[in-house]
Amino acid sequence: MTVNAVDKDPATRMMRITAEFDAPVERVWQLWSDPRLLERWWGPPTYPATFDELHLKPGGNAAYHMTGPDGDQPHGWWKVLVVDPPRRLELEDGFADAKGVPNPDMPTMHMRVDITALDAGSRMSITTTFPSAEAMEQLVSMGMEEGMALAIGQIDDILAELATTG
């Protein structure tokens, strides 16, 4: 796998990443359409994803949750906007409550997947767009608070370590 292009445009709040794989388009598509395969890569190892529902058809939906190291389970949802197997998928990705009900107060992201055949293998590009500056700001402040909590935890660990060894 090679990531061969990253394109970011703050003005349109867009990030596109393109990668090439040594596999035919049908196989690449399978990693989106089969929930058991999808959940092997969607979440990071520390927050593995479980797809409770996955209906890749126009107007279809997905419901998933991720399980954190402390057992916390953030929920998410997809709304399928465009689907053209094995080439194209467009969806809205958002946050949900513990019961999987979409949270209307949280920002959503628009995601577009394009898979094209190469002479050998496939190219896949993922384009993520944030709907508004407000949505981005909300996500930035959330992410920053998360990052901050993480950094603080790490600093505390280091200090505790110094206290016991020093």
Partner: protein, 131 residues
Amino acid sequence: MVVDQLPAKDARRTDRLFHALADATRRDIVTETLGRERSVSELARLYPMSFAAVQKHVAVLADAGLVSKHRRGREQLVRGELGRVHDVHRLLDRLEVEWRDRLDRFGAVLTDGPDDEIRIPSDPKSRRRYP
């Protein structure tokens, strides 16, 4: 790219940031003022220290760009500025890192075994987790 050498200016900025975050009270002040402004006197009531000591902490945080200071009448207001430090660029960078990781895993799942092995049945009991 994700792993870039930090220019000297950024390195100094990072030093200030770490210095500012290396103190528990200062970290708490940032958390307390994220999304809501508080006056220095309000903050001083939260900690067992003098108004002047809190004011010093606020100055260190402001120097690192973690809070901003505003005046309202005789009061000095403090606002956590984490979200605005790198705003849009920061989020797009984070998203890029997230997708690079995802695509690494995507590639690993793709190359994991021959075609017939990759078709794992949709039976919850056979769900594969990360190794």
